[in-house]
């Protein structure tokens, strides 16, 4: 992490020196064509960029997940080619380092970034902390009507937008078609009860010892897994309209009880308590699981003979119980003290625009509804696109509260206590609700 900061600072300083030299040597260069916003309404805030010379915006992205570094660079090059007055300094860090990097940069006083990639779960936290700027007035009308509703909700806090939606993802119910057929079923389960029945049948027929594998390691993935399960039991929100917690009742409680039940019945692989998404992928793609809940990236890997022993056998379906899975999307936040706010917004809107998203569909599916009506796009993976269309419409969010990190830490412990049998599901979740006051004040 520190290495990246030093490299980032060096790069920024080097760019700054080059910029100064360039501006000095060429004198007053004519300002280039104004940036081409994709239908954006210019905001009232005027950027502080000088009239002459290119403007450099500093952007922080994530590496090794979603779009590749090369794809982001390609998108950026296309943007800067169309907008010669804007230069973009790209930086990449791993997802694990992203949250800390954004917070320490923005609140540690240095504030070098104009635009950062933020996870849906950090949205409220960044909004309240004054890290992300309110961009409600910059979101174009075609985005508000053309993008899936669940995606838009994931970038809002208290009715205002604190990010431009961009990188969309959700979880799916993966299943092994061969094992399903051997057990006598022709379609993946549409409810959680059905999945339990199918899994038990597979176990009893000796097709597989542990049909289901979950991401139950103490970490964020566990909360996401639980959210995806809870959607199928009718949960829509973790807190009510007044901000009071409701997750110790209703669908979320039933989901936890269901997860525990499957472990007790021997349906869920007991090794799941130390599994994250890559372990679930490993189990599915080596033919050692019949069902698994995990993100979209596993589908492409399942078709790769170098990574999968079950090429063509892995099916992907929307989450059981109506396709309400956890929103794992990330949006582009414009920092509040961004030096070049309008340029950053233009850049973000370009990246999020439908043509750009449709160009890079192998890495991430577009968030635009009408993209799913274009057969030339979905032809490469029709099963994935069909599942995604249902899943994107039904996406639900983890608790959208500014104190999400301590809440998630407490939930992770409680969920594990319930799954390991140390507490009943109700007692475990009640324990988190009991801490609500102290969690809020942190």
């Amino acid at each position: 992490m520190f290495g990246t900061v030093r490299v980032g600072r060096f790069a920024t300083v080097a760019l700054g020196i080059l910029f100064v030299l360039g501006a000095c040597s060429t004198g007053a260069s004519p300002s280039g064509a104004p940036p081409t916003p994709t239908g954006a309404q210019p905001t009232a805030a005027v950027s502080q960029s000088p009239a002459a010379g290119p403007v450099t915006i500093t952007a922080l992205f994530m590496t090794q997940a979603g779009y590749t570094d090369d794809e982001v660079k390609a998108m950026t090059d296309a943007f800067t080619a169309a907008n010669p007055s804007i230069k973009v300094d790209l930086q990449f860090v791993s997802y694990e380092a992203l949250h800390e990097k954004i917070v320490t940069d923005q609140l540690g006083g240095s504030g070098q970034y104009d635009i950062v990639l933020q996870d849906a779960i950090w949205g409220p936290e960044f909004a309240v902390a004054g890290i992300s700027a309110d961009v409600t007035d910059s979101i174009p009308a075609d985005m508000l009507s053309g993008v899936f509703g669940g995606v838009l909700v994931g970038t809002q806090y208290q009715g205002r937008y604190y990010g431009i939606p961009w990188l969309n993802d959700t979880q799916y119910l993966y299943y092994n078609k061969t094992m399903l057929q051997k057990a006598g079923f022709s379609a993946p389960p549409s409810t959680w009860d059905e999945m339990e029945q199918q899994a038990l049948a597979m176990k009893q027929k000796g097709i597989i010892d542990y049909p289901f594998v979950g991401q139950y390691k103490q970490g964020e993935a566990l909360v996401a897994n639980w959210t995806s399960t809870a959607g199928g039991f009718g949960m829509t929100d973790f807190v009510d309209a007044q901000g009071n917690p409701t997750f110790n009742t209703g669908g979320s409680l039933q989901a936890l009880e269901y997860m525990k039940k499957l472990l007790d019945e021997g349906v869920t692989n007991p090794a799941s308590t130390n599994y994250v998404s890559n372990d679930v992928k490993g189990a599915l793609l080596s033919g050692q699981a019949a069902f698994g809940i995990v993100w979209a990236y596993v589908y492409a890997d399942s078709l790769d003979p170098a990574k999968s022993k079950v090429v063509g056998e892995i099916g992907i379906a929307p989450m059981a119980g109506g396709g309400h899975a956890c929103n794992g999307g990330m949006s582009l936040a414009i920092t509040k003290n961004a030096k070049h706010r309008q340029e950053a917004i233009d850049y973000a809107l370009y990246l999020a625009s439908q043509p750009v998203e449709e160009k890079y569909v192998t890495a991430a599916l577009p968030m635009w509804k009408s993209s799913f009506e274009k057969p030339e796009l979905s032809a490469s993976a029709p099963e994935l696109w069909a599942a995604a269309e249902v899943a994107y419409q039904g996406m639900i969010n983890r608790p959208m509260v500014p104190f999400y990190t301590p809440l998630s830490n407490a939930l992770q412990v409680a969920l594990q206590e319930a799954l390991l049998g140390q507490k009943t599901p109700k007692a475990a979740l009640d324990g988190v609700v009991a801490q609500w006051g102290s969690l809020q004040s942190q």
Partner: protein, 305 residues
Amino acid sequence: MSHALVSLRSRLQGERWVAVAMIAPATLVILAITVVPLLRAMWMSLFHIVLIRPGVEPFVGLGNYIAELTSPIFWGAMGRTFVLTVSSAGVSLALGLGLGVLMNQPLRGRWLLRSVIILPWALPGVVNAFMWQWIDHAQYGALNALLTQVHLLDTYQNWLGDPGTALWMIVIADIWKNTPLVALLVLAALQTVPKELADAAEVDGADALQVFRRVTLPLIMPMLLVALVLRTIDSIKLFNTIYVMTGGGPANATQTISLYAYKTAFQVFDFGKGATLGWLIAFVTVGFVIVYLLLIRGSARENRP
């Protein structure tokens, strides 16, 4: 004040005064980069500072300390740290002592043993953690394969996902990595033991075990103390192994004090509590060292003729 300076000056005559003046800049720099941050952290621990709520930093005095010392999460973490430290430091000390003595024997191929022993310690901590995570893996792990093939186990165990075994797997990974350090320190200390003493004791009729207990061990005791202190500090500080292997789970079963401090300071960004925990860890470490010193002094006094 001036009287003290004058007497100070008179004591530090000539060369000594020059020596002090030469060392002073380096000392000041070291003080600045170690003592100043420590004091700042102490100051920070008296406030309620949460980074994502800037501008709201009330003074709470000892409030953070009281909150932590009455928190069951804190004491749970302390308990696990204690278990980890005692078992890891204790076992690695015993093993390292044995290995050091072994490497000191005139064996054929001793050079190979001395070269290979350094490998676990040379491994980066994160690499060691990932390696042990794979060894302990519930479905593909070498440990499970080995134990089932020699029929010590019937089925594969979930070593890292079971709260009863997870901490012990961390202890094993820590012991494996750090025992070489103790072995090398012991070997170095053994080199300084004059052979004539052992020979004289043998002539007096002592057997090998008595020679070791009465002659060798007291002479290498200072080095053993150093090794014990280093191992204790390492175990209390242990972070990357736990973070990679279990992330503090399952259900906080491997959440030691260093992991708890990290989560508080760098995930929740509660810097006030984080500084508090940092200082509490320092107090605990110093406490351990004082206990060691007292024990060693006590036994040294016993052994004096």
